[in-house]
């Protein structure tokens, strides 16, 4: 947590965190896989900007490196990899919708309110109710919940991968504001780890198509009991 940021810095952080939350809600409001992908890329760029801003105002020069790598990996390489998977599949949107986009946005809004209540309570423990920490915690928790919502109500393999990445983005965003001094090594390895995860998913999706004949988790119901 940056000690006493200037008002300008605080508002910049707030703006960027809220922007990334907004993009997460956009993902809930669509059922086109391409839109999820664009939203995810945009979210990663916002997070990269946030890393750079925190690095600048908080005097953590190593965060510039993180920002550059976030932009490269989360903003470009991961979306490219996922775009390649989408291109190979015959599916370009969610077909069986459990929760209509409008309804899932409402549920998402409820999640944000819940996350805010928890964040205020937690930040209150450190007497930080009036700082950007509340916002960071809110966004971190609500992106977590939104990610789980996407995992639960979306069935296409791509939506599920992106749901997982939203979960990770939420945590990553929170760490930039709450614990910018977290050891560089760990952040680097986590970034790298994400790349490996998506590569694994790519291979697995290909297997799913050839061996299970589907990429929708609705069809995966052989194993029960």
């Amino acid at each position: 947590m940056i000690q006493t940021p200037t008002p300008l810095a605080s508002s910049l952080f707030s703006l960027l965190t809220i922007a990334s939350l907004l993009v997460a809600v956009v993902m809930l409001g669509s059922h086109w896989l391409k839109n999820y992908l664009y939203a995810f890329a945009a979210e990663s760029w916002v997070i990269a900007a946030l890393s750079a801003a925190v690095g600048f105002y908080g005097h953590y020069p190593e965060l510039y490196l993180i920002a550059a790598l976030t932009l490269l990996f989360r903003g470009l390489v991961l979306p490219y990899l996922i775009w390649r998977i989408i291109r190979r599949l015959a599916v370009d949107r969610e077909i069986h919708v459990i929760l209509q986009p409008g309804m899932s946005m409402v549920v998402g809004a409820l999640f944000v309110m819940f996350a805010f209540a928890v964040a205020v309570r937690v930040a209150g423990e450190f007497h930080l109710e009036l700082t950007v920490a509340v916002l960071a915690l809110t966004v971190m928790l609500s992106m977590k919940l939104i990610g789980f919502l996407m995992l639960a109500v979306r069935h296409e393999a791509i939506s599920q991968i992106l749901g997982l990445l939203v979960l990770e983005n939420g945590i990553f965003l929170g760490t930039q504001i709450l614990v910018p001094g977290m050891p560089l090594l760990i952040e680097l390895v986590i970034l790298f780890d994400l790349l490996v995860i998506v590569a694994c998913f790519g291979v697995l999706v290909r297997y799913l198509v050839t061996h299970a004949g589907t990429t929708s988790s609705l069809q995966l119901k052989r194993l029960v009991g």
Binding site: V122, L164, E168, G170, I171, G213, R222, L223
Partner: protein
């Protein structure tokens, strides 16, 4: 000395993984992986004797060897060795010769990640080690390339990745709580965290612990986060099932136990332990329900793993020297016994060409030696004397006989009896159900498959009859070193 052993322990499977990819010959890959298994086991056996009461640190404090880690690594190395031996016999039955080198490369890499996990001293890097175990083992689960194994692999990676992202959130919150005590930048090791814990904010610590518990609990297979486990365990090749059950679950349990130690040092009161106890009882209940009505032979073993992880969770949740010693001992017993069970299930499954319990009968006539071992293993895994699991479960029950947890002990006793009846009833059907055709030819299973079953069985029986005093002291001393005292 200890450093060199650790090096041998971890480098052997890592080099084997690279070697298997390089040689591209099935027989050679088999031998390389088996050699790595032997080297790891040889390096792991002396570790508990060398691990002192004070943890030893290596590589700029990134690697820790304490008594808990040494013990879990021993369990893992045993399973890795046994499964590598069994794989030689079993994988040849699959007729996938050209893909075998890749299988063994992944298998050795899986062994590497499970051996490395408990040694990680940095909390963040431990998380990454656990994530890596998932990525490697997903492809082992998917190895048979059938629709079912694909489904299992997909569910496995989705559920577990989503689950342990909660553990990452919990880890970040732990770090955040620490920044108010230690300043914005510090190395988050288990020791540093435990030392700073008494001055950290209890509300945030509790929240962080619950997140971590759910996160790593997914990986351990505690109910209700267990949904990936029966699928992954039942659809992967038998040696992989044994590794998943006997090695991976323990590796993830170490994380929960270390975090429990941190909350113990912080003096958070009974909530963290109570949470673990509740998950333990739930796991036993889910295990019991699904074991009684189970139809698939490997799913039966998988639900039994959930049950036993529940028992281990109960042991750590009850805490105190008895609970911790019982739980650690139960880990070893479960690793040995579940390997034996999955090996037997694999052999039977291949011989009868089915996973359905209904279609298997007269096992003892077809496999006199292995069948007898498997049946004895079934008796052992339900916690009947004179095997090790009886002792460890009994110790855990004694640990729980406190006013706050006695309800859990009664629940555990009832559920264990239900599981005993259900489990043994399935075996009665497979062994002694009257069959129409009386002429059954005796199947010849290879020694590669039979020997590891016998090797797993001997220590189960020996340690069930004789619990050395040194081992008892060793296991109880973990209680102090991880500050897992009585609530």
């Amino acid at each position: 000395m200890t450093g060199n052993l650790l090096l041998a322990l971890t480098l052997a499977p890592l080099l084997a993984a690279i070697g298997c990819l390089a040689v591209r010959r099935a027989r050679l890959a088999e031998a390389i992986n088996l050699l790595a298994g032997v080297v790891s086991l040889a390096a792991a056996l002396p570790l508990p004797f060398l691990a002192g009461a004070k943890p030893e640190l290596f590589l700029d404090d990134y690697v820790i060897l304490d008594r808990a880690a040494a013990w879990v690594i021993l369990c893992t190395a045993i399973v890795y060795f046994l499964a590598s031996t069994y794989a030689v016999g079993y994988m040849r039955l699959l007729k996938e010769e050209e893909r075998l080198p890749r299988f063994y490369a992944l298998f050795a890499a899986f062994g590497f990640t499970t051996l490395v996990g408990p040694l990680m001293n940095s909390v963040g890097i431990y998380w990454i080690a656990i994530e890596l175990t998932t990525l490697v083992s997903t492809f082992l689960v998917a190895f048979e390339r059938e629709a079912e194994s694909m489904e299992a692999a997909w569910k496995y990676i989705m559920v577990v990745s989503a689950g342990i992202s909660l553990a990452l959130l919990g880890t970040v919150l732990f770090y955040w709580a620490g920044t108010f005590v230690l300043g914005p930048s510090y190395q988050m090791t288990w020791g540093v965290l435990a030392a700073a814990a008494p001055r950290m904010n209890p509300v945030v610590l509790t929240l962080a612990f619950l997140l971590v518990l759910i996160g790593y609990g997914t990986k351990v297979g505690l109910a209700p986060m267990h949904s990936w486990l029966p699928d992954a365990h039942s659809e992967s090749p038998a040696p992989v099932s044994a590794m998943l059950s006997g090695a991976l679950l323990n590796t993830a349990m170490v994380g929960i136990v270390r975090f429990l130690g941190v909350t113990g040092a912080a003096g958070l009161g009974p909530l963290p332990q109570l949470a673990l106890v509740v998950f333990g009882v739930l796991s036993l209940a889910i295990g019991a329900l699904f074991i009684v009505r189970q139809q698939g032979i490997k799913r039966l073993m998988a639900y039994s793993s959930i049950e036993h992880m529940g028992v281990v969770a109960l042991g750590f949740g009850f805490g105190g020297p008895l609970g911790v010693a019982g739980a650690l001992y139960h880990m070893l017993n479960h690793s040995l016994n579940k390997s034996l069970m999955f090996f037997g299930a694999g052999t039977v499954m291949r011989a009868y060409g089915t996973k359905e319990i209904r279609q298997i009968d007269g096992v003892l006539r077809r496999f006199p030696a292995q069948g007898a071992l498997w049946l004895a293993g079934a008796v052992a895994i339900t916690g009947a004397p004179p095997f090790g699991l009886f002792l460890s479960e009994f110790t855990i029950m004694r640990a729980g006989m406190t006013p706050s947890f006695s309800w859990a002990v009664y629940a555990m006793a009832v559920l264990l009896i239900v599981i005993f009846i259900g489990f043994i009833n399935h075996f009665r059907a497979m062994y002694y159900r009257p069959t129409a055709e009386e002429v059954v030819e005796e199947s010849r299973a290879s020694a590669w498959c039979a020997v590891p079953m016998a090797l797993a069985f001997v220590p189960l029986l020996v340690f069930g009859l004789w619990w050395p005093a040194g081992m008892w002291d060793y296991l109880t001393s973990v209680t102090q070193s991880l500050s897992l005292g009585v609530p």
